[in-house]
Amino acid sequence: MSDFAAGATPLVELIDVARHFDVSPPWLNRVLERKPRALLKAVDGVSFAIAKGETLGLVGESGCGKSTVARLIVGLYRPTRGEIRYAGRRIDANTANPAARRNMQMIFQDPYASLNPRWRVVDIVAEPLRAGRGDERGPAIEARVASLLEQVGLARADGSKFPHQFSGGQRQRISIARALAGNPAFLVCDEPTSALDVSVQAQVLNLMRRLQRELDLTYLFISHNLAVVHHIANRVGVMYLGRIVELAPTQRLFARPQHPYTRMLLDAVPDLAHTGKPRTAVAGEVPNPLEPPSGCTFHPRCPYAAERCRREVPLLKPVPHAPLGAGEVACHAVEEGRIPAAAKTGDSIWRRPQTGSESGRVDRL
């Protein structure tokens, strides 16, 4: 990857990682009803690297595979194909590496489901401490838990309470304290603020930024909310149907999006700056991942689709005619220069009405 040409080993690296799920009907149904096997390619050949201290954002609509990537990295799923490396060493399941595992933690979306309602906060936060080194108790752990709680903006006395006594934002702080307990270097955050109200989301995002500065953390930050990713990430990967279609430094991605899907997403985001401004709605929906379109999976929704797009899967390549470090894009049209030069955000390229498609209304608001 161009960003790592300097030779530094990235902290986390994914090389052509794929995860397929077998969602076939049971054997008897397949035989009697002649149903074929069905394979859901949730993640299909994803490669990226995250440098130490960096925040990589991963965005995409539901079903694009972003959460599966998170689960693959922390080892909740085994990859069907490909390699996952931490600090240069492989950590995908065949070569288990508990030391590397301890260095990564995950923060989940739903702070109501991810905390055990029967445990006191002090036990929840201390669990990773105890799990690593036998079941030790005592003042050392208590002191560590207290300092963790204070670090995330809770009081020492909150340790003796139960999760139900906290609001959503405070629960997410508890999740963060638990994740930090083992002194990890890398946090995988899967939609950590999606269940929170905006003012609480701001508190949690500010907290995560402060912790990153203080503890030199590296984040993989997954969200469907482009504005949140824009705020927190250094680089952003855009996923569509199990693949990364564009990967670029945040400022470049939002200022000059290349891939038609990225442009479409940016056009679709309702933003405060857009009061009363006309806007074009986009056509079509994410196709069924069980029967993805041929070639570039975005081609049925893409106004620039050509014959080659229907046939050939585009690979992630550096943006043509751009300075080094401008990121990568997987699009034949961009590669061949068939798309008008990168539009500024807000300048819509989606004016061509698409008659015939199911939601072919391209309304000007």
């Binding site: 939002f254 933003d271 405060l272 199911e358």
Partner: protein
């Protein structure tokens, strides 16, 4: 209130009797919606925005009840009508679109049957005419091949398409007002944009007024004409959408706008309102926002502010008076 208003809510209070006493979830809310206008109602969870919408269409679940206030549609009082009369108004004069399209549709009936049933309940049409109207509606909300889709069940539609069907159902009897409670929250951004533009286009074409309830300021910014911001059961600020977003007067609105990450601006840290919205059991005296407000002074702790003119908007905040005096 104003004579031309389609919907006028005056001093609405929604309360829940409990063993510990009566909880007031919506307290003294007054608002109006003009014909063809989109009024956004925003707030964080627990602010009372959904209950305000439910009260308008008479869908407050017992033991909750409207404790005080009036709801007038076209000048006619509708909050004290018997359930049967209210049921006729719902659907005929006020349509509703809720967050989850799957729970708004009956999974056992085809969408065609549900549409025809709704149409014949409210309009005096023959079955054939109702069917024609249903097909017309499906086309209008952007469902292609309506004839084929007519006989499909809700599970055969995607989330965005289902929400289109729900909108078709809400429009079936040509209501004057639609209450849309988080209509796009369960949808992906690209689908969300489609549904917003659909709703907006339909309102423009039919002159339907919309009460758009959502927590998403971005949706409000693009869709609403005016916006009411709710906090702890009360409206704290109301005004034209551009003024409320770009020149908010109430400290809560200001904090709320500052806390929203946007793509347009590069910010080091988001503005932060410390603390959380109070629970219904512990709403502070005076201005309910005063414990979190950086500018609170004596009067805020003592008296409860009512909405007063502030800039281009109206805000319920004593600072407005103080600034005017200074």
């Amino acid at each position: 209130m104003t004579g031309g208003a389609l919907l006028a809510v005056e001093g609405l209070r929604v309360e829940f009797p409990t063993r510990q006493g009566t909880l007031v979830a919506v307290d003294g809310v007054s608002l109006t919606i003009a014909p063809g206008e989109v009024l956004g109602v925003v707030g964080e969870s627990g602010a009372g925005k959904s209950l305000t919408g439910a009260a308008v269409i008479g869908l407050i679940d017992p033991p909750g009840r409207i404790g005080a206030g009036e709801v007038r549609l076209d000048g006619r009082r509708i909050d004290n009508l018997p359930p049967e009369a209210l049921r006729r108004i719902r659907g005929r004069e006020i349509g509703a679109v809720f967050q989850d399209p799957l729970t708004s549709l009956n999974p056992l009936y085809t969408i065609g049957r549900q549409l025809v049933e709704t149409i014949t309940t409210h309009l005096d049409l023959t079955p054939a005419a109702a069917r024609a109207r249903a097909l017309e509606l499906l086309g209008e909300v952007g469902i292609t091949a309506p004839k084929r889709r007519f006989n499909h069940y809700p599970h055969q539609f995607s989330g965005g398409m289902r929400q289109r069907v729900v909108i078709a159902l809400a429009l079936a009897a040509k209501p004057k007002l639609i209450i849309a409670d988080e209509p796009t929250t369960a949808l992906d951004v690209s689908i969300q944009a489609q549904i917003i533009s659909l709703l907006k286009g339909l309102c423009r074409d039919h002159g339907t007024a919309v009460m758009l309830i959502t927590h998403d300021m971005g949706v409000i910014a693009e869709t609403a004409d005016r916006v009411a911001v709710m906090y702890a059961g009360r409206i704290v600020e109301v005004g034209p959408v551009a003024d409320v977003i770009h020149r908010p007067q109430h400290p809560y609105t200001r904090g709320l706008m500052g806390s929203i990450p946007t793509i347009a601006a590069e910010r080091e840290a988001l503005e932060q309102i410390d603390g959380t919205m109070p629970r219904l059991t512990a709403i502070p005296g005076g201005c309910a926002f005063h414990p979190r407000c950086p500018h609170a002074f004596d009067r805020c702790r003592r008296d409860r502010p009512e909405l007063m003119a502030a800039g281009a908007t109206r805000a319920a905040c004593w600072l407005v008076l103080r600034q005017a005096a200074a």
